[in-house]
Structure formats: structure tokens, C-alpha cells
């Protein structure tokens, strides 16, 4: 097995493992660190594909992904967290062992679902698509079942990472301009959410979306 394939498999697997670990840990600060690691792994996937195909644009995309998802976004999230004294997810809507079993089921589901996509173009890179689909599903699960705002933002970002992974594997790269646009989109979402979370916190004294159940004037 060539080095290119080995690095690709390990990096893509690492993206999914990071998604599962965000579901596993309770400490929100640790979840943000793991999100950074996931961004780096995603950058490695893009970089590996770029080197294999000798595609400069894809290489630039890889660097962009590394910078944006690996550094900038986690930094912004940590700024939000610094304002919030509580940093543990004590009562997720679904308890942790059950969420992990659900994650295992989602991984199996994505394997079943992706077999049709793989059948269209069975190259070694496309065969890893189930890992990306599983990341999307696990991220969505995180988004739905966590109560801390930052955890939910992380869930959204994991979904985005999963979609990016699938895109890289299936089309072996997107044009730089598309990736730039997508990254700016995500950055905008994170900045808006950060501002929202901060102003929520200062106005209502709480960061919990669930505690905001009444509409005020």
C-alpha cells in the first residue's frame, strides 16, 4: 500500500475519531481542542490529495483549511469560553454511553448508505466516503443533543468538516474560490454566534439555549 493511501486513510479515520471523541468528552474546552485537531487532520487529507495529484490550487486550499479550521475558529471559540465560568457539559439530553452507542449505529448506517455512492466510482479515495458521512451524522447528533451553546457550535462545525471531507474525497478537491467562499461563510457564522452568545450571556446571565424559553419584548 502506498504512502499516499496510508496517510489518507489514517487522516480520514482521524477526522471521524475526533468527531466521536467530541461526543465522548464532557469538558467543553477539551471539545474545542479536539475540533482544532480535526481541522488539522482535514488539512492533512487535502494536502495529501494535493501532493498526490500535484495540484497547486488544492494545496492552497489545504493551507486555508489548516489555518481557518485548525487555528482561527478554535481561537474564536476559546474567546467565548473565557467569558463563561462553567465549562462542563453536565446534563446532555442523551447520556454519554447511549450517545456513543448511537454514534456506533450512525457509523454503521453511513457505511450502508455510502455503498451506493462508492459503487459509482470505486477509487481508493472514494472508498473512504463513509467516514465523511459518519462525521456529518455524528456532528449533527452532537448539535441536537447538547445543551451548552459552544457544544452546539462545535457540532455545526463538525458537520461542516464532514461535508468538506466528503467533498475532498469524492471530487478530489474543489476550486480555491469555492473553498474560500465556504470558509468565509463558516467564519461569519462563528463570529455571529460568538457575538450572539456573548450578548446573551451579558443580558440574561446565561449561555444555555434551553433556559431561554420565553419571548420578551
Amino acid at each position: 500500500m502506498t504512502l499516499y493511501l496510508e496517510v489518507l486513510e489514517i487522516a480520514a479515520g482521524a477526522v471521524l475519531v475526533c468527531a466521536v471523541v467530541t461526543l465522548w468528552r464532557r469538558d467543553v474546552r477539551a471539545i474545542v481542542t479536539i475540533l482544532a485537531v480535526q481541522g488539522v487532520c482535514l488539512g492533512i487529507v487535502a494536502g495529501d490529495l494535493a501532493i498526490h495529484q500535484r495540484d497547486l490550487a488544492l494545496g492552497a486550499t489545504a493551507l486555508l483549511v489548516l489555518a481557518a479550521k485548525g487555528l482561527v475558529v478554535p481561537l474564536l471559540l476559546r474567546r467565548v469560553l473565557r467569558k463563561d465560568p462553567r465549562s462542563r457539559e453536565t446534563t446532555p439530553l442523551v447520556n454519554i454511553p447511549a450517545s456513543l452507542v448511537a454514534a456506533a449505529a450512525l457509523i454503521v448506517l453511513s457505511y450502508v448508505v455510502s455503498s451506493k455512492i462508492i459503487a459509482l466510482d470505486p477509487s481508493p479515495a472514494t472508498r473512504l466516503v463513509p467516514l465523511g458521512v459518519a462525521t456529518v451524522l455524528v456532528g449533527y447528533f452532537l448539535l441536537v443533543t447538547r445543551q451548552r451553546t459552544v457544544s452546539q457550535i462545535v457540532g455545526l462545525l463538525v458537520v461542516d468538516n464532514g461535508i468538506a471531507l466528503v467533498t475532498f474525497l469524492v471530487t478530489s478537491g474543489v476550486p480555491l474560490i469555492v473553498e474560500l467562499g465556504a470558509s468565509l461563510d463558516v467564519l461569519l457564522v462563528v463570529v455571529v454566534l460568538q457575538v450572539l452568545a456573548t450578548s446573551l450571556g451579558s443580558r440574561f446571565g446565561s449561555f444555555e439555549l434551553d433556559e431561554l424559553t420565553e419571548l420578551h419584548d
Binding site: 454511553p97 447511549a98 454503521v108 457505511y111 450502508v112
Partner: protein, 665 residues
Amino acid sequence: MTLLLLGLALGALAAAAAALPVHLRVPVSCLLVAGACVLAFLGAVAELRSGHVSTAHTAALLPMNGIELRLDPLAALFIATTAFVGFAAAIYSIGYAHGPLRSRTAVVSFALFVTSLLCVPAASSVATLLFAWEMMAVTSLLLLLAEHRRRAQALDAARWYGAMTQAGAAAILLGLLLLAAHSGGQDFTAIRAHAPSISIPIRSIAFVLVLLGFASKAGAVPLHVWLPRAHPEAPSPVSALMSGAMVSLGIYGIIRVGGDLLDGGVLWWWLVVLALGVVSALYGALHATASSDLKRLLAYSTIDSMGLVLIGVGAAGALRTTGHPHAATLSMVAALFFVVAHASFKGCLFLAAGAAERATGTRDLDRLGGLARPMAATTVLFCVAALAVIALPPFSGFAGEWLLLQGLLHGFSDTSTATVIALLVGVVALALAAGLTAVAFVKALGIGFLGRPRTQGAAEAREVAPTMRLAMGILALPCLLLGLVPGLVIPMVARAANAGFALPSASPVVPGAGLDLSGFNGAIEPALLAIAIVAGLGAIWMTLRVVANRATRRAEAWGSGREVQTARMQYTATAFGEPLQRVFTDVLRPDNDLEVTHAAESRFYTQAVTYSNRVDDAVERSLYRPVISALAWWGTVARRAQNGSVHRYLAFSFVALVIVLVVLA
């Protein structure tokens, strides 16, 4: 075939022995039943060794259709297993039967129950099968009520059992009649011949109906609700027969109709069977860890074991349909081996539980304990059977589980995604069920039999009658034997598997004492492992005799510096299963009740604390109760149509007649 027919005849004669006076009735009848079982066993083993198929037909007993019997290796395997358990149960009954169990009804029912159990696998037409099936159901219902007719729980159990058995029999009848209608005859040979020409949707409907009936009998969740109610209330030899022989007949039915008559069928049938197996294994094992009633624990463990067998059968069917006959044969052999092993260890467990209940007066694990010294033989035999269930080497359960895992593993080379996922889920279920079963049986053995007696009843236990101990020993023997030399029975099991599914006749295991897979890379030699374990024990013991201090003394156990420890300070069964109950609390939904009585003088002093913990059957609570309340509601609504007016009733019959005439016109 002749031996089997002789056996059946002897069984009927045993029923006639009920005419004898009271003290002769039970021994003579039970001995005749035991003789019948021996004859049937010998006939079945002869059939398994030769592999020829023999038939018998008589028009005498049933009007219109007559009785059709056919002995092929698949039927022979189940008859042999049933006969073995029946023999032990009959011997056990000689010592166990007392009071209401000596009545004529009980004696006749027992004899006919065993006879019908021997007859079902050999049935070769729809009428014969249902005749034997209904006789089995009716006699077991009568036996269920034999010992504790007045107890409310026994009546409740009988109601559930009767209703579900009849519903199951109706489903089986519908399915088989559908097949018979499209085959021009209710003989199994006719159905087998015409099956390929029946359209797939009809075959699927028939299979689903038949599956509902047979799966309910095998205790598959969610049709299992009668099992944990009926097994504890029945007398112990009957429970052993129900668990060891009757539930296996559900598996037999699925294999016979799906595999033999319908020739394998469609993939989704077997994935459904596998799914039923997965759910049953996990559900049964979990509820076994949460039960503090010894026999209810064993009943749930039966559901778990049958779930594992269904996983094997489902995997075999699926792999055969997708074109992997060798892996399919392995899974099928594993499932059938497990059926044989299960019959012996579960039978032994129920008989030992019955002995404990007879000696102490209770089957509540929280009230037992300390039976190791007064009832040494029972404890040792329960321990042997429990170690077999937990699947420790070198017992039979381990060989069965190894075969099952190998069967599932070597199916992974399949290309169909659905099958691969199903196999993976099967492995997960196997693993978790194995772990939970270990918890349940350590609980049953350690709390029920070891330690100190928790109540007066347990303290006054005495060892039971010799016939009861003999019966337990007979059933415990295969637990060891099948584990040490599984290769002894594998060729016969392989022949049965091939008869069931029309698989290639090559045995998946190379002939020999151990298990050496042919065509796949994998082998174990349990006999050599046992020798190694014994050698290890011997070497350690001798080393210690030479090297270590040999002095021994008795002293009080450590209690954190307390002076006196009472037997009530021990862990109870409820306490033992509590951590697992907490982990799986969303599935089990236990009913916890804590009542604190304060002292009269002040609220700050407690006088007494009462804690009760009840785990109801989850499926019963969430699925059956709403359905039953809906039916009750419908009943009250429908009652409005009956207001006592004669005119209204006459109007009903008039309108019904008019409608029928309109339809016919």
C-alpha cells in the same frame, strides 16, 4: 422409525398408567415415560448415524387426514435432544411429585406432554403437526396449573400462556394452510415439491405467519411475554422440558418451514430472523441480570440462548441465499449444536432450581444462600451447568459460542452490505449477551447457593431425593462431555443441518475429537485444553505443597473492624444487579420505592426504612398493556350494542342474514 413408533406407543401407555392407585401411579408412569424416551433416543441416534429418511403413515388416529410421520436427520436431532431431557425429567419426577402432582390429570398430562414433544419433529403433514402441537399446548397448560392451582400468579401465567400459545398455533395454521392450498395437499412432501412454483409474495406471507407462531414458542422478543410467567409457575420437571425441549421446537419449525419446505426463500426473511435473535439475546440477558427470582432468571436466560440460536439460523439462511454455502453450513451447525448444549444445561439448571425451591420453600434469591453445605450435590451440579451457560472452557457452552462466532466471522467475506452489517450486529449481541449472562449466573450461583443462609427457610434446607440428584447428574454430564469432545456429535449435527437447509454435505468440521474447521483457518481442541488446565492445577498444587506453608485455620471474615457480621449484611441479588440496572435504566425502567418511617418522638430519627425494587418486563409494559387496555375499552364500547332487548338481537341476526344473501347474489 420402528424404535420411535415404539417409543410413542410406550408414552401413550404411560398415560394409561394413571389408572393405577396413587402410590404406584407416579413411579410406573414416569418409568414408562423414561423408557419411551430411551427408545426414541436410540431410534433418533440410529437415524442420525445412517442418514436414511424413513416414513410411517396411519389413517387410524386422525379422521380425514391420518397421521404422517417422517424421520430425517433434522427431526432426529430434535427428537434425540427432547428424549434426553424427557428421560431426566421423568426420573426427576419420581422423587419430585407430591400432592397435586400425583393426581390423574397430572400424570396423564405429563405422559402425553412428553409424547407430543417427541411427535412434533417427526410430523410430516399439516394435520399431524398441528395435532401434536395442540396436544403439547393443552397438556403443558394443565401441567402449569398442577402444582399451584390456587395461586393468583399461576392463574395469571396460565391465562397468558394459553392465549399466546393459541394465537401462535392459529398463525402457524394459517401459514401452513396457505402453503397447502397452493400445493394441492397438506402433506409436507407435496408442499416441498410445489414450493418453487408458488409466487414469492405468497411464500413470504406464509413464512411470516409461521415465523410469528414458531418465534413466539421459541421465546423471541416481542412475542416472549408468556415465558417468564409460565416457567416459574410450572413444576420443575415441566419447566425443564419446556425450556430444554419445547422452545427448541420453535426453532425446529422455523428451520423446517423456511429452510426445508420453502427451500431457503428470500434474503430478508433471514435478516428478520437474525434481527429477532439479536433483540431476544440482548433483552433476555439484560432481564436475567435484573431478576431476583431464580426461575424467572432462568426463563430470561432461555430467551437469551434462543436469541443466540436465532442469530445462527438467520446468519445461515442469509449466507445460503447470498451464495456462501460453506459459511452457511458452519453457522447452522453452530446453531444446532447450541440447541443440543442448551437443552442439557438449561434442563439441569431448572431441575436444580426446583430442588432448591423444594428444600427451602422459596425461589427468591434474596432469601436463599448457604446451600453449599447441606445440598452439596445440587450446588455442584448447578455450578457445572452455570459454568456451561457462561461459556467457559472446557464446557459445552464454550464450544457452541466458539462455533457461532466462527460462523459469523467467516461470513464477513460476503459482498452483500446488508448481510455484513447484520453479522456485525450479531457479533455485538453475542458479546454483550455473553457478558450479561456471566453476571446473571454468578449472581444465581453465588447468592443463591453460596455464602450464608439469608433466612430460616434457607438455613433448614436438606438435600433432596436421590432420583432428583440422579436426574440432575444425567443432564450435567453432556455439559462436560459435549464441551470436552464436541467432535463426537458434530457429524450428526452436520447431517441435521444439511437436511434442514439442503446445504453441501461436507461437514464444516474435520472429523476428530476437537473442532477443526475445514476450509477456514481456525481450530480448538477442548480436550487438550482441559488436560492442560488439570495439569496446571496439579503443578500449582504440588509446587505449593513443597514451597509454601501448609497450615490452615478458620477465622471470622473481615468486616471493617466490626465485631459481629450477620447473614443479612451480605449482598442480595437485587444489590448485585443494581449497577447494571442503573446503566440500563432507560431500557429496564425499574420501579423503585423507598419508604422511611420516622420515630414517633422526632422527625430526625428513623425507625424503619423499606426499599422495594421491581423490574417489570419492558415489552409487556410498553407493548402489551396498551393493546390490552385498548381491547378492554373496545369491549366496554361494544357492550352498548347489547342492551338486553330481544328485538335488537333478532334484528342483528336478520341483518346478518340479509348481508350474506346480498354478498352471495
